[in-house]
Symmetry: C2
């Protein structure tokens, strides 16, 4: 027997139920992983609350999409991975059926990656969600140059810090927002050229101050809600705003006038656009692995919990106090 996390109903962190469950045999094309570290994501908080914007199935279910560990069983037809290999999971599977929170998980072979040796197990569980989320808006769907100005909202989230690193690969000027002065240092150390300490108001005047009235070219926004108007106000001509989450509980009015005046793009985005398309995924994978090797990309880990502390870990994640990735050591 071994312990896994199950969600029996949606709700607060305490709904994450740690229980004993015999490791399952992997089916055809699947492998079972002995999990060593789990990367926690805000999308799992949303899923737990029952407000994840993508379709979800019925409960009870497993939960979690990012882990590192060792292959301990392989199903029929598995070609690329063997028992004993160290791997990480790329979010490219059903997190309810194949969720990774626990001492074991069963995932499709296609969701596995071999990680650069320089990464610790904890770091290896903190790579794919953040860099794949940044990859779409900043690499696949934009043409960043050293002249680009990139605005990253919630800059101290794991995706935010990952996106800062990705934007700096192109030499772009990076402006990051955060709610608290306490996170200013980590943002600068991770590469942000400018930090705006803001609850969402006053972003536009600060961006204009920094860019000399020009505005940003690309923004990453996990929040949406009424703050989108402030973003549109801060946007430059033909800028693009990538909305990759909906942390705001309020509706989001479309800022139509600046949209028309400036020819703005508002683009919804989730990493599934990358992970479920083999060509895109392969290009993204190579890009991220190359820059992990060169250390230009390097996951920032904020705090490490144990599996026993999964409820507390989620509570912390939900508090928004972290700067970087919250990881569970199994």
């Amino acid at each position: 027997m071994a312990r896994i996390v199950r969600l029996y109903r949606t709700g607060g962190p305490e709904e994450l139920t740690l229980e004993e469950a015999a490791p399952e045999q992997p089916g055809a094309g699947e492998v079972r992983i002995r999990v060593e570290a789990i990367g926690l994501n805000n999308s799992e908080v949303q899923f737990r609350h029952g407000v994840y914007p993508l379709p979800t199935g019925s409960l009870p279910s497993r939960i979690g999409r990012e882990c590192s560990g060792v292959v301990e069983a392989v199903g029929d037809g598995v070609q690329q991975f063997a028992i004993g290999e160290e791997v990480s999971t790329i979010p490219a599977f059903d997190i309810q059926r194949n969720g990774v929170y626990g001492e074991w998980c069963v995932v499709p072979e296609t969701a596995l990656e071999r990680m650069p040796a320089r990464l610790s197990r904890l770091e290896a569980a903190a790579v794919w969600q953040q860099y794949l989320t940044a990859y779409g808006p900043l690499v696949l769907f934009s043409r960043l140059t050293p002249h680009s100005v990139v605005l990253i909202l919630a800059g101290a989230s794991s995706v935010g810090l990952g996106a800062i690193q990705v934007a700096k690969l192109f030499g772009a000027t990076v402006i990051a927002t955060t709610r608290t002065a306490a996170k200013q240092d980590i943002l600068h150390r991770t590469g942000a050229d400018h930090v705006i300490i803001s609850d969402g108001t006053d972003v536009a005047p600060r961006v204009r101050e920094i860019t000399g009235a020009r505005g940003f070219d690309v923004a990453l926004d996990p929040i949406a809600g009424p703050g989108l108007a402030e973003l549109a106000d801060a946007a430059g001509q033909e800028a693009a705003i990538f909305v990759y989450g909906q942390l705001s509980p309020e509706p989001t009015p479309l800022p139509l006038i600046p949209l028309l005046r400036k020819g703005l793009t508002i683009r919804g985005y989730t990493l599934w656009e990358i992970t479920l398309q083999p060509e895109r995924r392969e290009a993204a994978r190579r890009f991220i692995l190359r820059h992990l090797e060169s250390r230009a990309l390097s996951p920032v880990i904020d705090r490490v919990y144990t599996l026993d502390e999964i409820v507390e870990a989620h509570r912390y994640l939900e508090s928004g106090r972290q700067a970087g990735k919250v990881v569970v050591r199994v």
Copy 2:
């Protein structure tokens, strides 16, 4: 003396004041045109009402952006055009200072085009607004193929009919919407493969019916407002909705869930993105002229008024009863 239209205050069609005004001498780089036909645009209705979404200056002012006519005076430094030449105006100037409603107008030389001989003077005043508006979303910012599905809202407007023609150049499947069955014929004759008669509701189920659940790839929407949610519902994976106007008097909620689920793009667009950028404008100009020559593009004129009837012409324009361009013969 000659007659021009001036707007002294914003309001209804009757605010368009026809008055005598001595023809002005063109300044440096400008030409004066003896106007022969004027193409009317919805954006002029919005401007007249004071709700045009782009910044406008003070009143009184002139109005109008599309005309055909003959060069009758040239200012200093004008190189490309000579007195006596037949020209049309491209919307690339200040419509308040250089407005074309009247027997004469003064516009920058850079706003002039020589038109294919096959076009009548009336047609020559009905080209640039519609095809340039369609060009951005359908040519510059999209990659249409015969597999593409294009949804054109308000399909029987002049821009709508122009956009149908442009989309058909690429062999795309075109779905057009219109409020009244009376316009169904002209939509089909102009090239629409499918017509949805709708007040904005029920567009999504009809699009799904037509496309077999796949949804559209590109939509052109001059309306915005609450109907945007219906559009997002009808959209295919990674589809783009180009909003080029705001005919709806209601606010526009951003349809965030389908935006995220499908990776949708909502893009504000006005033709100024083309006309004020020389390279884009040159490419657009060549594209449109080539297809006017081949008759693949051919302006649809709905009704012709005289200059005396400018108030009535605007009233008709505002009624939404037209299918195609409303033109004033001067």
